[in-house]
Subunit: 193 residues, 2 copies
DNA sequence: TGTACATCAGTGAACGCGCGTTCACTGATGTAC
DNA sequence: TGTACATCAGTGAACGCGCGTTCACTGATGTAC
């Protein structure tokens, strides 16, 4: 494969991820079809498979971007917070904001079904650890006396809790409450801790 | 339609729900197919549609049973707990136990995609309120000074939090921790509150 | 530079599979006389 | 009780749709002489 070809394929790869991203945003992961991607990216149907082995692998790239955005949002939210507790609240609310503003992208993180490959699971775990690190730092400040293992466990616990609140809070079927109320729930939980 | 026919259809309806339940337990909601149900229940493919308008409606019956089981499990778990805090912990752990022991049934509660019908959403909300009532009672005892609205909000908050912990805890992709650890996370959260 | 040829990137029609739902038909049941 | 007929519950082949992936082909690109 020539350099030229490589470059062309790399460009097509990006165009496909862009198209997939727009598709996810517009209609959710399940709405993104191979034929639409090809049309959007200006290539043939078969060309997709010159760049990616299958669609899930392509979707992983979209999720990678989403993880990066989420990471940036959490990171930014804690800037300038006076106390670790305020930083925790700010991050949790930033998570809610992101999920609310980019529901379909955020959902895709959890909806994508991966081929059974431990490498892919690891990839997810690594991204999550990235998100956790922001929380862990704040918790370590909040509880200077607790050991690392306990901080790690509570990091996971808090993330999962906030995730659960956001998940059920944004799902019509399970809650008829307005989004502001979800924010109050998060504050309520963190106030108790 | 004669009485005899009605009775036969009611029996077939039950046989179909039984079959669907077994299918969900064995392979998850997505694995249950109309043809398998007909074969299992000993009727023709078309006969399904004499009893239920479509498969989602049939699956709702399975979910109704699951909600009832969950309700019974939560209710039973708090019997004989000395304090409201212990009752809350017991219920949360019972939720975890149920999700762990009956993962596919439990998942089906959240995976079933409903036709857009407000009545079906209401049905779900009603079942959830049933589960919430156990938690609300314990919280009201724990915090006798707080008002009803606040208790209600914290009920929802705690349920969602525990749900989030269980959800991410049982998902391989997002956690490589053993199930016991999930129980400790739940205890950890409730200990802080 | 020009010509003949080889390679291979890219194409898109077709494959293959899955599956919920329908509807023209059949034969069992019940009714009328 | 027996016969002719009507009704309608139940059947399952076929419809209809969707869609990821493949692969035999084409034509553009590059190479050799």
């Amino acid at each position: 494969m020539s350099e030229k070809t490589k470059a062309r394929r790399a460009a097509l790869g990006q165009a496909l991820v862009d198209a997939a991203e727009r598709g996810v945003v517009a209609g959710g992961l399940a709405s993104v079809k191979a034929r639409d991607l090809a049309a959007e990216a200006g290539c043939s149907l078969g060309a997709i498979y010159n760049v990616y082995p299958d669609l899930p692998t392509l979707f992983m790239e979209v999720n990678a971007r989403t993880f990066a955005e989420l990471d940036a949002a959490l990171s930014a939210s804690q800037d300038g917070q006076a106390t670790p507790r305020e930083a925790l609240v700010a991050m949790a609310l930033a998570y809610l904001d992101y999920a609310e503003a980019h529901t379909n992208r955020w959902r895709a993180l959890f909806d994508l079904e991966l081929p059974d490959d431990p490498a892919l699971s690891d990839w997810y775990l690594t991204r999550l650890r990235g998100l956790f690190s922001h929380i862990g730092r704040a918790l370590a400040q909040l509880w200077p006396d607790r050991d690392r293992a306990e901080i790690e466990m509570m990091t996971r616990t808090l993330f999962s809790s906030v995730h659960g609140i956001v998940l059920l809070g944004l799902e019509r079927r399970f809650s008829n409450i307005p989004p502001e109320e979800v924010g109050r729930m998060i504050r309520g939980l963190l106030a108790e801790i």
